[in-house]
C-alpha cells in the first residue's frame, strides 16, 4: 500500500516513441462516447417547474459540447504523454540519479525571496489598494476579499497542524470554528464581555472541545477517524440548529458587538477612534483594523506552528504521521501527541471563529456545514500537507480565484450575461481535489523541509516521504 509513488501516472502509460495517432483517436473517441453516456440524463434534459408539475426541456447541444471538449482534451493528453515519453526515453546525461541527495530545488531557491515578498505584500496590502483604487471607500471590496482570504489562510494553517503535521485526517474542523464563533457571540451578547477577553476564552473553549472530541477517537485511524470527526462536526451543527434556547436555532445570533481598537470603539462621535486620533471619521477604519487583526492572528498561528515543529511535541507529531506503530515502540506517548494536535489545531480554529463572529456581527449554523470543512481540507491538501507557504498559496487561489473570475468581463461575453463563476466554484473545487490526488498527491508544494538537519540542508523529494497510517 505504501510503495513509493514516484511515477504512478507515468508507469501506467505505455512508453511509445512515436505518437500513434490512430490509437489516440480511438481512445479519445471512446472517452467521448462514455462522456456522452454520462451526460445524457443530467445535462441533456432540464426539469422546469410549472405550477405543481415538472416539465422537461431538452438541450442536447450541452451534451455535445461537453463531449467534444472531452474528445479534444483526451487527444491533447495523448500528445502530451507521447512527447514526455519521448523525452524520458532519451535521458539527458545531467539527470540526477539519486533523488535523496538532489540539489536544493528551484522551490527552495525561490522560497528564500518569496516568503518575505508575500509577507511584505500582505502587510502593505491596504496601502497598496488605497493608492491603486484612489480612496478608502473604493478599496472596501478588496480589503474585504483580503480579510476573507486571510481567514481561510489561518484556518488552513490551523488544520495543517492536525492533518499536515500529525497526519490525523479531520473532516470536522469547522466544528471548532463554530465553537469559537458561538463562544464570542454568546459571551459578548449575554455577559457583555469585550472581544479581547473573548478571544482567548474562545480559543480555550475550542481547545477544550478539541480534547473532548479527541478522546474517543484516539484508537481510530485513517478513514474511520475521518468519518467519526465528520460525524462530530455534523452533530455540533445539528445541536446548534436545534438547541433554540441557547443558540436561537437556525435564525442565528445577530447584533454581535463590533470590534474595538483596544477599547476605543470605531464610532463617529465623542471618544471614537477617529476623534481620538484626530482623523476624519470613516467606516473603513474598522475594516482595515480587522484586516490587520486577522493578519496578526494568522501570522501568530504560523509562528507558533513553526516553533512547535522544532519542539519535542512537533517532532512527535511528524513521527506519528510517518508511522504510528514505530512511534509507539520508540516510547512516544501517542495519546498526548494526538490530543495536543487536536487541541492546538482546534484552538486556532476557535480564534478564527471568534474573528469571524466579530467581523460578520452575525452567526448562524449554516456557516458551519460540512462543505466548509471540505474547503479548508482542500486548501490544506492542495497546499501540500505540512507546507505552510503552500497552504497560503492554495487559500489565495481557491478563495480569491473565483472572485477574480467574477470580475473578468470577457468570460461574460463568452458564456452570456448571466454567467456567475461562483456557481461553478464548488464544482471546480471537487474536480481540483480529484485532479490534485491523481497528479500531485503531495500538493502544490510537495517538498518537506526536514525538521532535523545533519551538517547540511538537503531537499527531500515529496515522493520519498512515506505518508503514515494516521
Amino acid at each position: 500500500m505504501n510503495a513509493p509513488s514516484i511515477t504512478t501516472s507515468a508507469q501506467t502509460q505505455d512508453v511509445t516513441k512515436t505518437f500513434d495517432l490512430n490509437a489516440a483517436l480511438k481512445d479519445a473517441f471512446k472517452s467521448a462516447l462514455i462522456t456522452f453516456g454520462l451526460s445524457i440524463p443530467i445535462l441533456s434534459f432540464k426539469t422546469v417547474q410549472n405550477g405543481a408539475d415538472l416539465f422537461l426541456e431538452s438541450r442536447f447541444w450541452l451534451s455535445f459540447t461537453v463531449t467534444a471538449i472531452v474528445f479534444g482534451l483526451r487527444l491533447l493528453i495523448h500528445a502530451f504523454t507521447a512527447s514526455r515519453a519521448y523525452r524520458q526515453a532519451t535521458p539527458s546525461p545531467k539527470q540526477a540519479t539519486e533523488l535523496v541527495h538532489a540539489q536544493p530545488s528551484a522551490f527552495q531557491h525561490v522560497s528564500k525571496f518569496a516568503i518575505p515578498f508575500f509577507l511584505g505584500v500582505a502587510v502593505a496590502f491596504p496601502v497598496l489598494i488605497y493608492f491603486i483604487q484612489g480612496g478608502l471607500n473604493e478599496s472596501r471590496y478588496w480589503i474585504d476579499l483580503g480579510i476573507l482570504i486571510l481567514t481561510y489562510v489561518m484556518l488552513g494553517w490551523g488544520l495543517n497542524i492536525v492533518v499536515g503535521l500529525a497526519g490525523l485526517l479531520d473532516l470536522g474542523y469547522v466544528a471548532f470554528y463554530a465553537v469559537g464563533a458561538y463562544s464570542y457571540a454568546l459571551l459578548s451578547t449575554t455577559f457583555g464581555l469585550s472581544f479581547w477577553i473573548c478571544l482567548p476564552l474562545a480559543g480555550i473553549l475550542a481547545a477544550f472541545w478539541g480534547m473532548i472530541l479527541g478522546f474517543p477517537v484516539l484508537r481510530l485511524r485513517g478513514d474511520y477517524l475521518a468519518i467519526v470527526t465528520l460525524a462530530f462536526g455534523e452533530i455540533i451543527r445539528l445541536v446548534l440548529i436545534n438547541w433554540v434556547d441557547l443558540t436561537n436555532g437556525a435564525a442565528g445570533i445577530s447584533s454581535i458587538p463590533r470590534a474595538t481598537f483596544f477599547g476605543i470603539p470605531f464610532t463617529a462621535g465623542e471618544g471614537g477612534f477617529a476623534e481620538t486620533f484626530g482623523l476624519e471619521f470613516n467606516g473603513m477604519h474598522r475594516i482595515i483594523f480587522l484586516y490587520y487583526l486577522i493578519l496578526v492572528l494568522a501570522l501568530v498561528t504560523n509562528f507558533v506552528t513553526m516553533r512547535l515543529r522544532k519542539l519535542p511535541v512537533g517532532r512527535a507529531w511528524e513521527a506519528l504521521r510517518e508511522d504510528e506503530i514505530a512511534c509507539r515502540s520508540l516510547g512516544i506517548n501517542t495519546t498526548n501527541t494526538k490530543l495536543t494536535a487536536f487541541a492546538i489545531g482546534a484552538m486556532f480554529g476557535g480564534f478564527a471563529g471568534s474573528f469571524f463572529a466579530v467581523r460578520q456581527g452575525f452567526v448562524s449554523p449554516e456557516s458551519f456545514n460540512f462543505l466548509e470543512s471540505a474547503i479548508i481540507l482542500a486548501i490544506v491538501v492542495m497546499g501540500g500537507m505540512g507546507s505552510q507557504i503552500g497552504v497560503a498559496i492554495a487559500a489565495i487561489v481557491l478563495v480569491g480565484g473565483p472572485e477574480v473570475l467574477r470580475n473578468l468581463t470577457f468570460l461574460k461575453a463568452v458564456f452570456g450575461e448571466g454567467f456567475d463563476p461562483n456557481e461553478y466554484r464548488l464544482l471546480l473545487f471537487g474536480l481540483g481535489m480529484v485532479a490534485m490526488m491523481v497528479w500531485r498527491p503531495r500538493g502544490l508544494i510537495s517538498e518537506r523541509e526536514p525538521s532535523v538537519i545533519l551538517k547540511e540542508r538537503k531537499a527531500i523529494s515529496g515522493s520519498l516521504v512515506k505518508e503514515g497510517h494516521g
Binding site: 500500500m1 505504501n2 510503495a3 509513488s5 501516472s9 501506467t12 462514455i34 454520462l38 440524463p41 443530467i42 434534459f45 426539469t47 417547474q49 405543481a52 415538472l54 416539465f55 422537461l56 485526517l169 473532516l171 474517543p216 477517537v217 484508537r219 481510530l220 485513517g222 478513514d223 474511520y224 475521518a226 468519518i227 467519526v228 465528520l230 460525524a231 462530530f232 455534523e234 452533530i235 445539528l238 445541536v239 440548529i241 436545534n242 506503530i325 460540512f370 462543505l371 471540505a374 481540507l377 491538501v381 456557481e423 461553478y424 464548488l426 464544482l427 473545487f429 471537487g430 474536480l431 481540483g432 481535489m433 480529484v434 490534485m436 490526488m437 491523481v438 498527491p441 505518508e467 503514515g468
Partner: protein
C-alpha cells in the same frame, strides 16, 4: 400498538433503501479498503436520472402504465448509474492505487462535492417534486382508537424489489466466478493477481454493482418520497455508511441488517423522541459504533498488520 406496527412497516421500508446503499459501501470497502465517500451522491444522481426518465416516459412517450414506466426507469437508471460508477472508479480512484492511504478518501470527497454541484448547476437548486406515482394502500387492521395501520403498495414494491435484487446479487457474489474473483481480491489482491484474476476488472465490476444497487435505492427513494434535491446524497449516504459499519463492513448480509436497524432506529426515534434530533441520533450511532465496535455485528475483527 397501532403506531408501533405502523412505524415498524415504515422503518423496514426506509431500512431497505439504506441497506441497498450500504451494500455499495461495504463491497468497495471490502475489496479496496476505502470509504467511497461519493456513494451517497451517486445515489442522489440515480434518483435524478430516474426522475428525468420517468417524466420522459410518461409525458413524452405516453407510457400510461405506471408499473411499466417504473420498471423501464429502474433498468435505465441502473445502467446509466453503473456507467457513472465505473467512470468514477476509472478516473478518480484507479490512478491512486499505491498512493498514500488517505488519497482515495480525499479524492472521493472531491467526487462527492463535484457530483452534488454538477447536479445543482445542471438541474437547479430547488427540490424536484413528482406527482405521487402510486397512491393505493392496504389497510391491515384498525385499532380501537380508529387509527388504521396500513401498508402502501409503494412500501410493498420497495421491500419486494429489495428482497429480489438482494438475492440476485447474493447469488452473484456466492456462486459465480465474478463473485469468487471478488472474494479472492478481498482476501489478498496480490495473490489473486498472481493466480490470473484480472484485479482491475474485478474492482471495476464491484463499483458497477454498487452503483446499480444505489440506482435501485435512488429509484425507490423517489417512489417513496416523491421529491429529490441535489443535497439529498449526503445524509442518506452517511446513514447508509453507518448501516454498513454497524452490520460489519465487508459483509453483505451485515449491510442489509445494518440498514434495517438504522431504518428502524430512525423511524422509532422520530416517532417516540424527537424528529429534530433524528440525524443527531444517526451520527451518534455512527461515532459510537466506529469507536467501540469497529468490526460491527457480522464483521470479522480487523487484524493489525505491522
Amino acid at each position: 400498538m397501532e403506531i408501533f406496527v405502523q412505524q415498524l412497516i415504515n422503518g423496514l421500508t426506509l431500512g431497505s433503501i439504506y441497506g441497498l446503499i450500504a451494500i455499495g459501501y461495504t463491497m468497495v470497502f471490502g475489496i479496496i479498503g476505502m470509504v467511497n465517500f461519493a456513494h451517497g451522491d451517486v445515489f442522489m444522481l440515480s434518483a435524478f436520472i430516474a426522475l428525468l426518465f420517468f417524466i420522459i416516459l410518461t409525458t413524452w412517450l405516453g407510457v400510461s402504465s405506471v408499473a411499466l414506466a417504473l420498471f423501464i426507469v429502474l433498468i435505465i437508471a441502473m445502467v446509466l448509474t453503473s456507467l457513472w460508477g465505473w467512470a468514477i472508479e476509472r478516473v478518480a480512484y484507479r490512478p491512486l492505487r499505491g498512493s498514500f492511504r488517505l488519497a482515495p478518501l480525499i479524492s472521493a470527497i472531491g467526487v462527492s462535492i463535484f457530483l452534488s454541484n454538477f447536479v445543482q448547476v445542471a438541474q437547479g437548486a430547488r427540490n424536484k417534486p413528482t406527482p405521487p406515482m402510486i397512491r393505493d394502500v392496504i389497510v391491515l387492521f384498525q385499532g380501537e382508537s380508529g387509527y388504521n395501520v396500513a401498508i402502501s403498495y409503494k412500501q410493498i414494491i420497495i421491500m419486494a424489489v429489495t428482497a429480489v435484487l438482494l438475492s440476485v446479487f447474493w447469488y452473484i457474489v456466492q456462486k459465480t466466478s465474478l463473485g469468487r474473483a471478488q472474494r479472492a481480491c478481498e482476501q489478498d489482491r496480490k495473490m489473486a493477481a498472481l493466480l490470473g484474476i484480472n484485479v482491475d476488472r474485478t474492482i471495476s465490476l464491484t463499483f458497477v454493482i454498487g452503483a446499480s444497487l444505489a440506482a435501485v435505492a435512488g429509484t425507490m427513494y423517489l417512489l417513496y418520497y416523491g421529491v429529490v434535491s441535489f443535497a439529498d446524497g449526503f445524509v442518506p449516504g452517511v446513514k447508509a455508511f453507518t448501516a454498513a459499519v454497524l452490520g460489519g463492513i465487508g459483509s453483505l448480509p451485515g449491510a442489509v441488517l445494518g440498514g434495517l436497524i438504522i431504518g428502524l432506529i430512525e423511524t422509532f426515534w422520530s416517532a417516540y423522541f424527537s424528529i429534530e434530533y433524528k440525524d443527531v441520533a444517526a451520527f451518534s450511532i455512527l461515532a459510537i459504533v466506529l469507536i467501540f465496535m469497529p468490526s460491527g455485528i457480522l464483521g470479522r475483527p480487523e487484524v493489525e498488520k505491522v
